[in-house]
Amino acid sequence: MSSRLSLQAGSECIIRSLGPDKKVARRLAQMGVLPGSRLRVIRLAPFGETVEVSIDQGQYFALRNDEINILDCEMVAMPLSDKSVKIEQYYQIRSLSGGKTFQQKMEHQGISPGIIIQIRELNKPPILIGLLQEKKIVALGFGEAEKIIIEVIDDPPG
């Protein structure tokens, strides 16, 4: 499964290959960003042209949008609204970006970091997710889904 890193604070991927641009690939390699490195989006610049990322060895970089877009990645964590999210699949919530109000609103509905969810409806709004422990279904808008960072889990629980 290869895809592009979705540009949302908190999303994370493992680099599979450095992409076709030789100059960019060479530069990234020299700076220690290599296939197998974990890339995490820290924050986006005001106009979204530049993205601050960190790699697992604990270094911080600013990369251009187009440099990230050509990387071949395997997603580890992404927003719920990401293209790679699949229906019926189980995910674990990693973090909630956005302000305090949003976090409180989500927690009120039982959505908080650590819980496991199953995607029920994805293609047309609202997005429906099933909360595994509480056994209930929550409806989310696309804007809300964008701020929920989820993590791929290998085995469906139970």
Partner: protein
Amino acid sequence: MIHQDKEPIVALSSIPNTGKTTLFNLLTGSSQSTGNWPGVSIEKKQGHMRLGEYQIQLIDLPGAYALLPTTEEEQVVRNFFLETPPDVVLNILDARNVYRGLGLTLQMAMSGLPMVVAVNMIDEVQKQGAELDIPVLSEHLGVAVIPISARTGEGLPELQRALYQLIKKPAHTRSPHISWPPVLEEAVKSISRKIDQCSEFQKLDHNFLAMRLLEDGNNSNIVHDEPVAMAVKNWRQRVENITGSEIPVICAKCRFNAARGLVLEATHQQPIPPDARSEKIDRILLHRWFGLPLFLLIMLVLFQAIYGLGVPLQEILSQGFDAGEAWLRAQQSIATLPIWLQSFLFDGVWQGMGVVTSFFPIIALFFIFMTIIEDSGLWHALHF
């Protein structure tokens, strides 16, 4: 032992932003200006220092990530190393992120040149409660590794001692253990044997030269020998065919694999984020929506402050000038001068000086504020 008649040359080299220039200033006692953004040192700078009986020339090279140049600074570094190899290499690692710098350190170590590694900003790492196993680093790199803090001067005597010993008794650095793909290893050996046959190169390790040629094929100014150039061309093709990727990327991968293992062994804690406090400040100043308005607000406050403080000062100065003019005009000796000369002196020279000086407070304040802003790194953050 290095000849007394020639000043031994020590070259400072590291990746950008590791405190190279700060260390250079500390060692030479000069005050080159440093900046807290990368790319401050684009030209190489020279200075002198005394170690025991030696007068040493210290060269501050610009920051580079690798010896295969992609930027102008890296071109300077590469040319310096290959054309005029220094007597000793003083490599700097950032203690907060050893991994990132090790790519270059390993490359330098392969050159065989005598080398000392200074691990800078060790105090900050200790403050964060992390530990860096210096003996392990030293053992694996095969060179002296000295923890220092260029900012406080901690570890400086030890570093000077290590440099002194290496100048007194130069020891070739043995090539670090890095596992390469077999075909690359074969290529290096074969080309290095060809280089052995031409006697131009004594200082640099021939395997290292072979590796440089393989990575940087089109730059034939390193070796002018025809058989070598041919061999490089053939091997490059073969290696890329077999491995299916570019040689510079393969080399970087192998180096960083070695670096990763080394870091795993030498750090006794998870890699630490650069600075928790600056991380917090970043979160506010670099906020996606508030960052830019906040920056503009800071600039507005700054300009308001300059004018708020500057204008009263300006008035005081201009009043002073007016009073001075009245006093001078009242002087007998000046009143007797021809009218045109008086006019020249008062309306030309005196008023001219008055206008220029009246700008002084504003400009001075502007510079003071800009220095504060610059030191705080806000300017650097603006690039982002």
